[in-house]
Symmetry: C2
Subunit: 235 residues, 2 copies
Amino acid sequence: MSKYSKQTRFLVAIDCIIFGFDGENLRLLLIHRGMEPEKNKWSLMGGFVQPDESTDDAAARILKQLTGMEGVYMEQLRAFGDPKRDPIERVISLGYSALVDIHKYKEQLSDEFQPEWFLLKDMPDLIFDHQEMVQAALKNLRYKAALHPILFELLPEKFTLPQLQSLYTGVYDAEFDKRNFSRKVLSTGLLIRQKEKDKENSKKGAFYYILDKSKYKDKFQSFLNFVPNPDNFLF
Amino acid sequence: MSKYSKQTRFLVAIDCIIFGFDGENLRLLLIHRGMEPEKNKWSLMGGFVQPDESTDDAAARILKQLTGMEGVYMEQLRAFGDPKRDPIERVISLGYSALVDIHKYKEQLSDEFQPEWFLLKDMPDLIFDHQEMVQAALKNLRYKAALHPILFELLPEKFTLPQLQSLYTGVYDAEFDKRNFSRKVLSTGLLIRQKEKDKENSKKGAFYYILDKSKYKDKFQSFLNFVPNPDNFLF
DNA sequence: CCAAAAGTGTTATTTATACACCCATGC
DNA sequence: GCATGGGTGTATAAATAACACTTTTGG
């Protein structure tokens, strides 16, 4: 069959907005851009879609290339399609937002990119429209996390309620009442308390919890209202 | 400056998922596809992104081409990037979801495409992955409308509460209690009651309402919980 | 006068919020 | 024994859900 011969073709890229949580703060993984223009400036990890891979596959490939991680939570944000967003040549970029357990991240794999985990408050200037992508991803993260149990993707298998709460605190840059927070979280039935405690962060020690995986899958899309008055935080 | 010369370029298309409300039911605007392959089969309105337009501009252009309408509510859904989704050649398509006032739609403009407004329940087979796009758009619409006052985009300037309720009924394919519904809707403060009534649909007549435009803009992103137990409807 | 759709109010239940004290431990 | 952070309970307010009768009017 013939092709759509008269139409213009475009470069299509993926840019990954990769979030992690260090136990205290939300962080974003950035790299030194390896190619001109703006070589060595800070940038999101990205790459071009290849001829025979789906855009989702491309995103997974690019994430793996940087982090060594597979099977990570990732969702497409949207296309960024301003014709002038890349000064070299028009590139339509698909933003993909990823949530990773920062502790599973393998530093050594990615010497080539000299990646660093930046605090959100503390980000360098980024190339092109990457700042806009980060803002869109953060907004989306806050939106989703207010309604769905998505932030667990950022935690290790075992975690404590104080850790979970400080994750929410970091994401929303707001304090929550710990009594109400723990009641709400536990009422979802998603968490299973372990017998061991984390004694590293306090003398008394805080119980570890793990996710009930099957309930997590079931309820992943439910409206759970983790955040009181989400209006206050999102806009 | 040189280009990213070694990379493959792709066709990038827009496909518009256009919703309307006829006063009774939610409908979708489909066309007869004008080009091979699958010429004359039913399809979403689409077209290729052009060299110097943003993807958002392309979507607006394509919507206007079919409906004659501008300034319509439109949002990008996501990219559909399966390499085999179009059998002729790889095309990465961006789905854009539009909500239009079906009464402002100008039939005559679009003879070329022989468009028709289909009931959702009653849709023909569509080309490529357009069915998947429609499902994604519908899911997104239900999701958003459960939280935000988005369905007003489908109504004419003046509308009655029974009309509004039947819109929600149509979108969710579910009945709502009219006492609770009207209390909830009016409590948002978004509606201004008019002095006239619509006497076409009942003997008693139902008051017309209009949107308070400034409050609408303010509250567009607020969480208003229009739909009770949205979990029940979305998944 | 009656059928048909519009409009409105109350109560019970659930959910959200605000708030303060005791517990366990390492030092 | 005390400072530190972990853990829990209760009372009030607000939101939601369930439910039924009156009003208007065209025919």
